[in-house]
């Protein structure tokens, strides 16, 4: 593969949107007549040898795309990553970690949205546990974090969690969030 071919391949690879012939020509500072045969070569290369991706022509430009047949396998990439959580899960976990024992109502008040689903997921993943029932009318369940939670975050115990004060101490410009209930927070 010659140098221009290498460059065109890398440009298409690295761009986050399809690159048109015009753009490729501008970026590589080469005339389109030079680039066209390279595109054809690349299309041939990736098309012929049954590779994992091919050079697609989309939206007036060129872009590498994974082959359609592999979609069922690639779907799994976006799921179950141990260290990746949805924002909702992270928020819920954060509230429970810092305010335990916490009731669902408290969590939903802080998050402002229904949190039943995400709490169920966290319970299923063994990151939460039920601590008992709260002695108030309705006797709601109280939740806390589990041993697996500590393991996931590499904490020895809950006192290893940074307090809000320590957290805001990092940046003098961060104003310390007013704790709702100072006793529970710190």
């Amino acid at each position: 593969m010659d140098n221009l071919g290498q460059l065109i391949e890398a440009l298409i690879f690295a761009s986050d949107s399809p690159l048109s012939l015009d753009r490729l020509s501008a970026l590589s500072e080469q005339p389109k007549t030079q680039i066209r045969p390279i595109i054809e070569q690349l299309q041939h290369h990736y098309g012929a040898s049954e590779r994992g991706f091919y050079l697609a022509e989309v939206a007036g430009g060129y872009q590498f795309r994974t082959v359609v047949e592999l979609a069922p396998w690639l779907k799994k990439l976006s799921k179950d990553r141990a260290t990746r959580f949805s924002r909702a899960a992270l928020e819920t976990l954060a509230i429970i970690a810092y305010r335990q024992p916490a009731t669902r109502a408290e969590i939903e008040y802080l998050r402002g949205v229904d949190s039943g689903g995400v709490m169920k997921t966290l319970l299923d993943k063994n990151l939460l546990r039920i601590l008992g029932k709260k002695d108030v009318p309705g006797r709601p369940l109280m939740y806390g974090t589990s041993r697996q939670f500590l393991e996931l975050f590499g904490l020895r115990d809950l006192s290893d969690l940074p307090t809000l004060k320590e957290f805001t101490a990092l940046d003098p410009e961060l104003t310390e969030a007013a704790p709702l209930d100072p006793e529970t927070v710190e």
């Binding site: 994974t66 779907k75 927070v185």
Partner: protein
């Protein structure tokens, strides 16, 4: 020596000291402390004359230098047999150690960096994510956990708990306002639906209205990147909007 030195050009007092030592061709193990102290103080004074804010750390180092200088002036007592430590020793150690991390930082700067010199692909997974609600994934660690909690508390003035939203502010009205905005534009930023003129109660009702619309699956929310802008878009036709109106009466927030 012409004082063309700008403190901002130095990452700290150690950096400035190293610069002075080098520009005066001194041996770092045998710093001419009188000379260097004088140089250092001149720079600091000049800065003060120019009314520039001098970070406390630079002043602290000035004090340290003066202290070392004064210790150097003390006669070395022969009576105490023990070898007395060079007053400069601690500073030399710090300078050497700092110099090293400064060099490493420089080497980091030279390393090929992702997104600057080296790139990874940005791919379209064909037919993969279509129709799938891509839960906004974030990397988590202890820091992210603490940050999430901090954000929640910060965005939540404590008093709201017992606040009763007045009858005059009906969620239904605000639902109408949001859907009206959305039917004019294809998508709008989450922040845009909150007028800056809104009172806190109005902000809350607008927020509840947004949640209600998401629950009714009339609008969708998408977020680009972990803390990026959130975008709202209608997920239903304008015609269907009319149908949800009766349900709005059931909303009990008002």
């Amino acid at each position: 020596m012409a004082i063309q030195i700008q403190l901002e050009n130095f990452s700290g007092p150690l950096d400035l000291l190293l610069h002075l030592i080098k520009s005066h061709e001194m041996d770092i193990y045998d710093i001419r402390i009188f000379e260097i102290t004088e140089q250092y103080l001149t720079i600091i004074e000049k800065m003060q004359q120019l009314d520039l804010d001098i970070a406390g750390e630079f002043l602290l180092m000035a004090a340290t230098l003066v202290h070392i200088k004064s210790r150097m002036l003390l006669p070395v007592s022969d009576e105490i047999g023990e070898e007395e430590e060079d007053p400069r020793a601690e500073l030399v150690k710090r300078l050497l150690e700092y110099q090293r991390y400064k060099d490493i930082a420089e080497s980091f700067q030279q390393l090929p960096q992702l997104e600057r010199d080296i790139f990874v692909g940005h791919f379209q997974l064909e037919n993969v994510l279509e129709g799938e609600s891509e839960d906004n994934q974030v990397t988590i660690g202890i820091y992210q956990l603490a940050d999430a909690f901090h954000q929640l508390l910060k965005d939540k003035p404590p008093e709201i708990f017992h606040e009763v939203v007045r009858e005059s502010l009906s969620v239904a009205d605000y639902i109408d306002r949001i859907t009206e905005k959305l039917s004019q534009k294809k998508r709008i930023a989450f922040r845009e639906i909150f007028s800056t003129k809104y009172s806190r109660s109005e902000l809350i009702v607008t927020f509840i209205a947004t949640l209600e619309l998401v629950k009714l699956q009339v609008i969708g929310i998408e977020q680009v990147g972990a803390f990026g802008e959130m975008w709202l878009a209608l997920t239903t036709s304008v015609d269907r909007l009319a149908q949800i109106s009766p349900e709005k009466d059931l909303l009990t927030y008002g």
